[in-house]
Amino acid sequence: MTTVNELFARVCLGDEAAFERWMVVVEPQLRRSLAPWARAVDVEGVVQETLLRMWIYAGDRGDALEGTDASLRFALGMARNVARNEARRLGREVALAEGGEEGAGGARGLGGAGTAGGAAGGADGSSGAGGMQVEPPPVHDPALRRIILGCIELLPARPRAALQARIDRGHEEDDRDLAASVGMKRNTFLQNIVRARRALEACLESNGAPLDEVLP
């Protein structure tokens, strides 16, 4: 049984810790599959919405999914449908047509996936995304983590404070609140994050760990 299947079986039983781990495994591929939609929709919002709907779907009829990595395949189809619906709602289908639609998901036959509640799939309960390449689960690299932490430590105080606030609490607070927590206005906060990211990339490169090459 694959990691994705094992985790999702527990997710269907309401196991939140398993859902967190399942998201850790599938999120990178889910996000990359939305590259063709980047000009039409807010990809971050689509990824989060898809993951939330997968939690609901798992509790509702997730155990109907069958096959290797079926939940990931289904999530890829759902993400695509969420993105398509969002592009339509925003009237941004033109941007989509210019950029092309075919993403990594390639899911078909998911009529209704991504609609309210997200409870829909192929008629046979399968994902309907045959032929898609499932990527191996991301591997945690302690050495890379040490290098990144070392580079963050070398940042000037204010860029470091801004970046650290974003990394630590960016999921639960907006930038205005994060900025206030480190004694900055929002614009200054954003400038400092930009400075921090630039310096961090240079530092990683000088340590033989260029960001684009080492991060999954």
Binding site: F19, R31, R145, I167, H171
Partner: protein, 77 residues
């Protein structure tokens, strides 16, 4: 307006995993998102990829800001 013409600060404002919800319960992007050109949106997408990957690399459980945001929603935080 190309991706490079838009200030990096404006793009960075959209990179955050934080998303408000509107009255219908939909996740809404930061206001800057609406001002970005197609090329700038491509660049934001690349920046988000790198930011989420770095967050994963730094977290002991491999969680990105996205995963943490979803878990927070789930738990009603």
């Amino acid at each position: 307006m190309s991706g490079r013409d838009v200030s990096e600060e404006v793009q960075e404002a959209v990179v955050t995993p934080w998303r408000e919800r509107d009255r219908a319960g939909r996740l809404v992007p930061p206001p800057e998102w609406w001002d970005l050109s197609a090329e700038a949106l491509d660049e934001v997408y690349r920046r988000q990829l790198r930011a989420r990957a770095m967050e994963r690399a730094l977290d002991a459980r491999g969680r990105s800001g996205t995963v943490k945001a979803v878990m927070a929603r789930l738990r009603g935080e």
